[in-house]
């Protein structure tokens, strides 16, 4: 057998179990087999709880107790790995297997220099001396594309950007020429532009060094753009495996088909997401529930629903003397736009571009430094806004948030959560009426009336986001701000929530402002879109126009960097 034909990794019928405390076991990984050839990138993809990270942890001996590997074999370059210790005959974790974690911010020890963390691995595994290791560390930093490697060696992690840190982590993983690189969501914590660079780097390293890469990810776009082969996992099982182009173009398993259908497309707009488990009866109940909710008289006005006028927000850090001012950061730098009645406007940009700050000002959570915000012609933020004008508009403007696990008070029952705004705005005369409303609201978002008696912890992320939407709906708003409403949800759940928002919009004529970093979601949801960069809006226009013919260079760049499945799914000539 020639060296090239020995797979970098061969997993055969791997099984990982967690005792559930009641005598039974939870099978986290169920007879999963996969092979990775040298130079090949193999993606393990699945939604949360699919067991994909557990496979990676089994390889590097980091299964959290009381879980343990109960069956199967793992071979690195043909040598069997002992599941309990992560070692094998002559194998060494860190030398033969390199590892990259998700969050580059916490993977590096804050008290040690880059040099110390890069060289220690080589000194232990390769027995290099300090100066030899240093030379190699310089080479490595160059290889992973870090500018001024000499200077960076002496840096501490906090002096590097997120992308640079992830590059250092990759350099450390490569330092002993491993056969296999295990990358667990290596770009999930990064912005799309840095994500593109890091993925390109991993691809390049795999090709030039003959490195087998196991890429654990939830992002189908990343799979499509980076990997050669893919394993799709559901509830611990590998349901489909094959060449990326094959699997994405002709998914055989129903789950894969559903998953791919739920991924928002960047290339064209669909009316609805295809979702497997949407009951027909429920939609009818929801429509009736919405109709039964007592409406609030709308203000007849020729004004746009929302006008944001030359908004500026500065954040000032606290000074080093009590009372003094520190540095000022301009988060929003002269932003103006209108949201028309009944439309959905998307506000997109990378993290730190100021989009969430704009939403917070509109919602009254942050005070603007200058500029103003008008809701139906009434000032709600800025110098002209008074307590009274703000209070008068509260009910008309509601918001839903990103993190479904944080957006509901864990110590209040769902019924009380939903009744609170209804009672506060006096939309119900009595508690009984408010309870009645809470039931209707639950039905309107596709949940059961009976759910009102439960506490939030009894619900999944998607269900919680529905409750969040119901709470906002209870105020009978005319403008709904959605701040990254689906970015912490699995893609199939995201599809359901987006469908729900579309249905509600159609049923109530709600105006929406959708804040998102995900351009594909924006394309599916919005009539118009505004692109933000460093606190300014660089481009605003009809969605189709912006996506088909972007006028600003930044928009073009963003669109080109997003990993997307359609390039393969379209049937482009690939591999």
């Amino acid at each position: 057998m020639s060296a090239a034909s020995v797979p970098a990794l061969a997993i055969d019928k791997l099984r990982v179990e967690y005792p559930d405390g009641a005598g039974g076991v939870l099978v986290a990984v169920d007879d999963v087999s996969l092979t990775i050839a040298p130079g090949e990138i193999h993606a393990v993809v699945g939604e949360s709880g699919a067991g994909k990270t557990t496979v990676a942890n089994a390889l590097i001996g980091l299964i959290e107790r009381p879980g343990r590997v109960t069956g199967g074999t793992m071979r690195i370059g043909g040598v069997i790995l002992d599941a309990a210790t992560g070692k094998g005959h002559g194998l060494q974790l860190g030398r033969d297997i390199g590892v990259i974690f998700q969050d580059p911010m916490t993977s590096l020890n804050p008290l040690f220099t880059v040099e110390s963390q890069l060289t220690e691995t080589m000194r232990f595994h390769l027995g290099l001396g300090a100066s030899e290791a240093r030379l190699r560390a310089l080479d490595l930093l160059q290889a992973v594309g870090i500018p001024e490697p000499e200077r960076r060696l002496k840096s501490y992690p906090h002096q590097l950007s997120g992308g640079q840190r992830q590059r250092v982590v990759i350099a450390a993983a490569l330092s002993c020429n491993p056969r296999l690189l295990v990358a667990d969501e290596p770009t999930t914590a990064l912005d799309v532009s840095i994500q593109a660079q890091i993925l390109a780097l991993i691809k390049d390293l795999a090709r030039t060094r003959g490195l087998g890469v196991m890429l654990v990810t939830h992002n189908m776009g990343v799979v499509a753009e980076t990997a050669d082969r893919v394993t799709v996992m559901v509830r611990g099982k590998a349901v489909e495996q094959g060449l990326v182009a094959e699997v994405l173009r002709h998914p055989r398993h129903a789950y894969t088909q559903g998953l791919l259908a739920a991924v928002p497309r960047l290339d064209r707009r669909l009316e609805r997401f295809a979702v497997l488990s949407e009951g027909v009866g429920k939609a009818e109940t929801a429509r009736r529930a919405i109709a039964a909710l007592k409406p609030v008289a709308s203000r007849a006005s020729v004004e746009p629903m929302l006008r944001v006028d030359n908004l500026v927000v500065d954040y000032t850090s606290r000074g080093w003397l009590p009372g003094s001012r520190g540095r000022t950061l301009r988060a929003v730098d002269g932003v103006s736009f209108d949201v028309r009645r009944g439309e959905t406007l998307g506000l997109v940009g990378e993290s730190g571009c100021g989009k969430t700050t704009v939403a917070s000002v509109i919602a009254g959570l942050v005070k603007p430094t200058s500029g103003q915000v008008l809701l139906e012609g009434r000032p709600i933020a800025g110098a002209t806004a008074t307590g009274r004008t703000r209070q008068a508009s509260r009910q008309a403007l509601q918001m839903i948030f990103q993190d479904p696990y944080a957006s509901l008070n864990p110590r209040m029952r769902v019924g009380a959560i939903l009744a609170e705004p209804v009672l506060f705005y006096r939309l119900a005369a009595t508690k009984a009426e408010a309870t009645q409303d809470a039931g209707l609201l639950l039905e309107a978002v596709g949940l059961d009336r009976a759910h009102a008696d439960r506490f939030p912890f009894a619900f999944s992320g998607g269900q919680r986001q529905r409750i969040s939407i119901a709470r906002a709906l209870g105020a009978r708003p005319r403008l709904l701000i959605c701040d990254e409403p689906t970015s912490s949800l699995d893609v199939s759940v995201q599809a359901q929530i987006l469908n729900l928002l579309k249905d509600l919009r159609d049923a109530t004529g709600l105006t929406m402002l959708l804040i998102s970093h995900d351009l594909a979601v924006v394309r599916q949801m919005c009539d118009r879109v505004a692109v933000m960069q460093s606190g300014r809006i660089v481009e605003i226009g009809e969605t189709e126009g912006v996506f088909e013919a972007p006028s600003h260079v930044y928009t073009r760049e963003l669109l080109s960097l997003i990993p997307r499945i359609d390039r393969i799914a379209k049937g482009a000539n690939h591999g």
Binding site: G364, D403, R411, A472
Partner: protein, 319 residues
């Protein structure tokens, strides 16, 4: 901040339903044996102390009930023991067992009182500081910093000492407990305030608080109805651990002679009295109150430790 709103909100937050909720949460993970044992010991001591007038063989506060002729009798099992006095007598002929029960009662009441006062002040200030931020926060926390840079015992000594200099009536046994409670609480509230402030800032940044603010709910309602119930778990832990600390501080103050007077002794006072006789080999006057004190505090600490580990997921994982 409206005071009545604050008071009703605190009462609302402490509604029995919630307390029951905690008890149920705690019961789900049935505590390990040492903790159960500690709970039983602490409970028994608490009951014995609270009902000291009913269970004690004699009343050590009643000068007529004891006789100098009975002084310095060793405990029952030692040579020269007397059946009337299980744990012996002190230098004035007082039954040690009764004195200890009454003393524990004083210690527990002062310790509990100071925990209550400190928690009430600390939780309210911490909530306000954490929620409002800015200048209010800076002022409250700076005051806390200054106070915390002095150890409890020193500050308590100073307050107790000054109280005597300023108010002639401060030395009256009836007033001493209040002096001691303030002396201890003046330091201890800071810890509650810091913890609650930190927790409040975390909660405040969470989306459910933003949602409440978008709805337009008034700050007092957000603070006391939404945030307070979510920051109470660490308060429970601190209160338990602080109860142990407060009982120790009271004992130390009394031992140093600025606490409860010999006519109305706490455990610390009893040890102070006994300390003078240790050199002459009369060990029981000091040792039995000391033992009671250590057992009481140890039991409370065991419970506090367990609570803390339960509420700290990182420690729980490894334990």
């Amino acid at each position: 901040m409206a005071m009545p709103g604050l008071v009703t909100a605190v009462i609302g937050a402490l509604r029995i339903k919630r307390v029951l909720g905690w008890v149920i949460t705690l019961r789900r993970a049935s505590p390990p044996l040492p903790v159960l044992l500690a709970g039983m010991v602490a409970g028994t001591l608490l009951l014995l102390a609270l009902f000291a007038p009913q269970v004690a063989p004699s009343n050590p506060l009643d000068l007529a009930s004891f006789n100098l002729a009975d002084s310095e009798i060793p405990p029952l099992w030692a040579e020269g023991g007397d059946r009337r006095f299980l744990l012996g007598t002190d230098n004035q002929g007082r039954d040690m067992l009764s004195a200890i029960l009454y003393g524990a009662r004083v210690s527990i009441l002062i310790g509990g009182g100071s925990v209550l006062v400190a928690a009430l002040i600390g939780v309210s200030l911490g909530l306000v500081a954490g929620y409002l931020g800015g200048r209010t926060d800076a002022v409250i926390m700076r005051i806390g910093d200054v106070i915390l840079s002095f150890p409890t015992i020193l500050l308590a000594l100073l307050v107790a000492g000054l109280a005597r200099a300023v108010f002639p009536e401060a030395g009256n046994p009836r007033n001493v407990p209040f002096v001691l409670i303030s002396a201890i609480a003046i330091h201890d509230w800071v810890q509650y305030a810091r913890t609650v402030r930190a927790a409040t800032m975390v909660e405040r940044a969470r989306d459910y608080i933003k949602a409440a603010r978008v709805i337009g709910l008034p700050s007092t309602r957000i603070m006391f109805r939404h945030i307070l119930p979510n920051v109470m778990s660490p308060v429970l832990v601190i209160a338990t651990i602080n109860l142990a600390g407060a009982v120790l501080t009271e004992a130390t103050l009394s031992f140093l002679g600025v606490g409860m007077p010999p006519t109305y002794p706490s455990l610390g006072t009893l040890i102070r009295i006994g300390n003078e006789f240790v050199f002459s080999g009369i060990w029981w006057i000091a040792l039995f109150p000391a033992l009671t004190l250590v057992i009481l505090v140890l039991a409370v600490n065991v419970i506090g430790d367990w609570l803390r580990d339960r509420f700290n997921p990182k420690l729980r994982q490894r334990a």
